[in-house]
Subunit: 409 residues, 2 copies
Amino acid sequence: MKDLIVQKYGGTSVGDTARIKAVAERIKGYQKRGKRLVIVVSAMGKSTDNLIRLADDISDSPHKREMDMLLSTGEQVSIALLAMALHSIGVNALSFTGAQVRIETDGNYSNARIRKIHTETLEKALNKNIVCIVAGFQGVDLDQNITTLGRGGSDTTAVAISASLGAEQCEIFTDVDGVFTADPNKVPEARKKAQISYDEMLELASLGAGVLHSRSVEFAKKYGVILHVRSSFHFTEGTMVVPEEQVLEKLLVTGVSLKNDESRISVSDVPDRPGIAAELFDALSKGKINVDMIVQSTGQNKVNTISFTILKSDLESAINQLNLVVKSWGGGTVSVEKEISIVSAVGVGMKSHEGIAAKMFTAFASEGINIEMIATSEIKISCVIDREEGERALNILHKVFGLEKTNGG
Amino acid sequence: MKDLIVQKYGGTSVGDTARIKAVAERIKGYQKRGKRLVIVVSAMGKSTDNLIRLADDISDSPHKREMDMLLSTGEQVSIALLAMALHSIGVNALSFTGAQVRIETDGNYSNARIRKIHTETLEKALNKNIVCIVAGFQGVDLDQNITTLGRGGSDTTAVAISASLGAEQCEIFTDVDGVFTADPNKVPEARKKAQISYDEMLELASLGAGVLHSRSVEFAKKYGVILHVRSSFHFTEGTMVVPEEQVLEKLLVTGVSLKNDESRISVSDVPDRPGIAAELFDALSKGKINVDMIVQSTGQNKVNTISFTILKSDLESAINQLNLVVKSWGGGTVSVEKEISIVSAVGVGMKSHEGIAAKMFTAFASEGINIEMIATSEIKISCVIDREEGERALNILHKVFGLEKTNGG
């Protein structure tokens, strides 16, 4: 649809009624410039936390369908208030829940996936020059049950609507200025990037450094939706997330990141027979424990060691699972390093350039930082190091790859 | 449907998570006794007020469609929490919004009327022995817009569902013990009634004394739904609202009430020509001002005086309307008595017994209470008196009609 912009405003951007009014004024400005608009909003600031607290008061393990029924009210409050704010400054607007738009999802409560967005209702309103305000994070399954999309769900809603309606651009308004070469709170020289490719954004998102959730970036990549990540507090341009071929300046490394919320587990002296690793990760998967980095090595006596990282919050339940598995094998030792850091460098330039890894390892070696595990993808290198060295390592990487000198491209 | 009970719990009954858990326990008890259950709930305690405050922050006159979108979240929170509470004590339950049940209303936002309740979804769940938790106060129009039913809306939802599904009984759980012969806060001798007829309940409701809103009683009368008004804080029987022929003991007067929220307006010296009264009340109606009692009298010089009562909160806007009308007539005087009381006696026995009015007027006269206006219906007599005499008059009436001696029937 021509001249269509989809905008998403996060919880901080609609955190109170004053901010909702400010968002309404911003929207009015776009409309004056002849844009058609679909606005996706999250729940106000801490309102989701308050709802979760109510549920926790009621039950230790709240029923998932009812949890989605409960949480979806947060976004419904936001859309109603934003539509009111637009009306009060003379902008014709209509709010829609996920059910009213018919954002069709699977039935996987609390982490549903969008299957289809029915566009008739939105198109009808847009053709009458009405601003459509859509509740993010929610949908309905085929039986009309309300579902929610899990973390970063409102971003996914915005991207999916952009794809379905063929929007010019999908603007993600948030409380940061865009995507940076590193977390500015940890690396003072970090610079905002003007552009980044989908794949780089995906890697950064999965490394916890990104402002976007990976599912929304995957969606954007699949359907070629141009994302613009920017601040709702001022009018400065943010970062464009675009197909790789549209990135003007292809840097070797586009950004570096640090993750401090994982722990490392090693299972050593495991029997040398096929299927051992499968049994191990199967047990973790049944315990709903996500495994991040994995390294397997064969020792001198053909006895394997398998090391991997998981979220620190999953540590206790992982150890319980692993002890059962090791017991069933009749051999093996589980050891844990709770406090680790994962430092990573990400960049599409790595595909065509050799020596990035060597540069990284050399820099760490000369600074006396010990690397405990290494994992690589086509456009990413990650190292597990001691937690105490995390921030120093991040700053070293940022400098080694010259990120403070880039023009932000 | 056999063995089906519909229950409605008001905002105080689900005021916090502890109370929601108590409601869940009560429901479990009914289920154990083999009952099928549809539970209608209101928004938690003050949550609606909080939502209204947000809207007021945004706009002086919030858009009505968006107000309904906003307010309907209150009940949605309650149904989710109650369903969770039931799950956590082993009761299979499912929550449904008005849209999910398909409670079809007209498109009159903030005061919609139920047109039809689709029963398939509820019947399917009830036949699987699932407790259905339905959001009160809300529905959807034919275009899927969310509507709300106005004051007392959750009662109406419960009664309408009872009628549609053919429930044995519709229990209205509230924070009072039932319907009393008078407000126990004002008349210490007031007694709880075991039974009351629809028509008496309607009169008492419209006089502000009732615990039920008149629309829900009208609905119950039309479809013969037996209502049971009772407290959610203990297990004592409340008051049954039933067809007149089922009332066991037909009293002359079943209850007395006092209203202190109205003011009296008199328009005197108005021209003597046809259509004067119509012009006057038409102007008030256009200003959305509800008129309660009306008395018209012709004076000596064939100059009319028209007196009527309206809500005190409408007084200012009413006077503005009336001054315009009087100006257009070129004559007439508007006078106001702001502080009045309306005392009323209600009872189906009045239909067949003469002398009730006389008994009332005599009692007031002998106690020196001046009657300023009188209005009667088939089963009600109301008098406007001075505000300062209101409570005393109420107690006099209660005694004169022997209500403290009744067996509550």
